[in-house]
Symmetry: C2
Subunit: 250 residues, 2 copies
């Protein structure tokens, strides 16, 4: 019997042209759909919680699809993993209500951005982190992060995925964590604009390095006509950690 | 004026056919020698502290070469890094005594082997760690590690890099560190046999999973004619952390 499945996937985004399927590029969605077809799926397109840019990683991307699967859930997980490249992994599989939609039902998304602070290139750490030097001032990073919390017009930080769509978003959590030369930015919002996290990180780091004033950030939040922030933190430091749902679908 | 330089390099070994130069393969030595030639080096072969297998990583491999360099050391480091692929990084450069040899002068080498314990493939962690499941018993791992400390004939754990060479080695440090799903094995010895760390890790994990008896380990240490241990922990979990030298050359 056909049922809808909710699947959590993780991926190393280095070699992919992002999440969303494209005609002539390796995408995460394309690879997952190929794996689904290997096990008898005949749908045309899976549903996904969010697009991630080329090079962005995920620990908790959520996808959904309808499938007639007669075996235990763990067998579905194993069958998909057997047909996926090593860079993508199905981390969890569960049955969902028939109308479950990973994007429309999501309450919020949590991203992590990783930075390492070292003077010299570090091949064992830079695949999943942006190397920044000198050390950005920690207190300034934390001050900036606090200013980003709340409902704001984030037009200066990105564009809506929908042409002409709203740019107001509600940031629930925005904080930096420090551990030696490793710095992590955790941000959770109801939804994100295109490139929003990478612009948030870039501007905070610029300010914490003394290359920009904190007023640039307050002005960007206060004036939706301030113009888009020039500069993006690199994709490879960003990880989609989790997508949060209401209890009835999670 | 020609002088000898001691250089610490780190690399992501994933895409390399090991440290040592080979005719038709990408090796770390080959890449470093190419970078040296770009800045005027005319030597035929650099000196290296140790061979690492294909796929093995390093944070502290040591190489040496003679070069006529008239500028500050930091410029030499930057010039080499500018000519190296992103997977290799020169972490430190210093001038060494003219007769310094990174292999013959080394007092010891320290390796780290990383394991993650998770039931499902994890693309963001498996590039630099061996995934093991179920959880190996921590106390058994630590007991095994303790048994490996000291001077033993490690013939069961590997072969000498020299044809028919001695297989007695002195292990100074051998211990496991546990942090959530991350397990690290730290081992330091005067020198290592070919594949020695990977066989040490493999057998300890087999024992800690209940697949082998601890007597297999004690017998392998007690009887040099016990035969080689069958099985190797994968290369991608292994990192050459550091090579230690006496004060006069370090």
């Amino acid at each position: 019997m056909m049922a809808r499945y909710q699947v959590i996937i993780g991926y190393d985004g280095t070699a992919f042209s992002g999440m969303q399927r494209q005609a002539n590029a390796d995408t995460v969605q394309g690879a997952v759909e190929n794996a689904l077809r290997q096990i008898g799926w005949q749908g045309s397109s899976l549903l996904a919680a969010g697009r991630t840019d080329a090079g962005v990683h995920a620990a908790g991307q959520v996808v959904a699809f309808d499938l007639d699967w007669q075996h235990p859930l763990i067998d579905l997980q194993n069958a998909l993993n057997a047909n996926l490249p090593p860079e993508i992994s199905v981390r969890d599989v569960r049955q969902a209500p028939p109308e479950f939609h990973p994007r429309f039902d999501a309450l919020s998304r949590t991203y992590e951005y990783r930075i390492i602070t070292e003077p010299t290139r570090n091949p064992l750490r830079e695949r999943y982190a942006w190397r920044v030097w000198p050390q950005p001032e920690h207190a300034l990073l934390q001050t900036c992060a606090g200013l980003l919390i709340g409902e704001h017009d984030f037009a200066a930080f990105g564009t809506s995925p929908i042409e002409g769509g709203a740019t107001i978003r509600n940031v629930y959590r925005s904080e930096w964590q420090f551990s030696g030369s490793e710095i992590r930015y955790l941000v959770c919002a109801n939804a994100f604009l295109y490139h929003m996290v990478r612009r948030m990180v870039f501007l905070q780091v610029e300010i914490a390095l003394g290359k920009a004033e904190i007023e640039t950030l307050t002005a960007a939040l206060a004036d939706s006509a301030a113009g888009i922030i020039q500069g993006l933190a690199p994709a490879h430091g960003l990880v989609l950690l989790a997508v949060e749902y209401p209890p009835e679908v999670s």
